[in-house]
């Protein structure tokens, strides 16, 4: 999020593109979001950035009622297009910290240690939780079309052959015979495979190996589960 540096031309360009199809930074009424961005812009954008200029002038017309506009002001980096890197956040905050006079130095130190301990505890908790959760196995459901040579091919035998293929991570599902024409039927069979262990290439190789029965095979559908 964010527009980048709104004092420079590239930043204003991003703002311009962002506002091409919007009247306000957020929603359909002027809000503190507009005020926040407005204050970050140093002056009217150049005339060729017509969308940014239109918005600028429009928000300027709310100058007097600025404080009464709805919404809560957020950090500048929270506005704008999602695909732009926020460059305004941490840098600014850091320089501010340096300027602060550290009146209660020791207190601060203790607190941060406490916070650190807490954080580490949570981290450990999270890690252990993560370890307990079983790793997700990527599976796919595949629908295969197996075609015989002719109408005299024994389809029951063909199916038996196909189902005889065994592999780790391969489960055969339901099947049916679908008429193709001229009395020839093809075998449509469902199977579920673990992606890491079984590939369609290996299936094809093994199925076409029954060359007495199988003329060819196709993958009719392939779905990730």
């Amino acid at each position: 999020m964010g527009f980048g540096d709104l004092k420079s031309l590239p930043g204003l360009q991003v703002l311009n593109d962002y506002l091409a199809d919007k009247s306000y930074i957020e929603g359909y009424v002027p809000s503190q979001a507009d005020v926040a961005v407005f204050e970050a812009v140093s002056g009217p954008p150049p005339a060729d950035l017509c969308h940014a200029l239109r918005w600028y002038n429009h928000i300027k017309s709310y100058e007097k009622e600025k404080a009464s506009l709805p919404g809560v002001k957020k950090a500048l980096g929270k506005y704008g297009p999602a695909n732009v890197e926020d460059t305004t956040g941490s840098g600014v905050a850091d320089s501010k910290d340096d300027d602060d006079i550290d009146l209660f130095g020791s207190d601060d130190e203790e607190e941060s240690e406490e916070a650190k301990r807490l954080r580490e505890e949570r981290l450990a908790q999270y890690e252990s939780k993560k370890a307990k959760k079983p790793a997700l196995v990527a599976k796919s459901s595949i629908l295969l079309d197996v075609k015989p040579w002719d109408d005299e091919t024994d389809m029951a035998k063909l199916e038996e052959c196909v189902r005889s293929i065994q592999a780790d991570g391969l489960v055969w599902g339901s099947s049916k015979l679908v008429p193709v024409g001229y009395g020839i039927k093809k075998l449509q069979i469902q199977c579920v495979v673990e992606d890491d262990k079984v590939g369609t290439d290996m299936l094809e190789e093994q199925i076409t190996a029954f060359e007495d029965y199988v003329q060819s095979m196709d993958v009719a559908a392939f779905n990730k589960i």
């Binding site: 199809d21 359909y28 017509c50 017309s61």
Partner: protein, 174 residues
Amino acid sequence: MAAAAELTLLEKSLGLSKGNKYSAQGERQIPVLQTNNGPSLTGLTTIAAHLVKQANKEYLLGNTAEEKAIVQQWLEYRVTQVDGHTNKEDIHILLKDLNSYLEDKVYLTGYNFTLADILLYYGLHRFIVDLTVQEKEKYLNVSRWFCHIQHYPGIRQHLSSVVFIKNRLYTNSH
């Protein structure tokens, strides 16, 4: 949209509770409002202006002298240009002009929401609904304005909400 239906919509968006009855006059179905103790009012924009005054929302007719004039101009535009044309080509010419006009404006008068925005929104609704995604993107400024007005509280009512895609798809077209 028939003028009477549009005026009923306007009454609601202005917060007027009393429903007026409108009759239609002549071949072009010009709306007529018979007032209780005066002459009858004829014509969409005349009645609309009257309703705005009835609702004590005169700011919708413009704040400054110039703004009042611009509102008047767009109300005339609405009746003569938008309602006067129904064929596709004319509408596209109209949208193109409107698109370049709205490039540097948030509302028709500039910074303030007025009756002109409401009536032009009602008048254009039936055309915008039929635009393709590419056309909506081509008339980007009109789309922005239209989307803005349809989200203005109390304006859209039962009219269908027109969907505008957030990501631009046809980057080369403009």
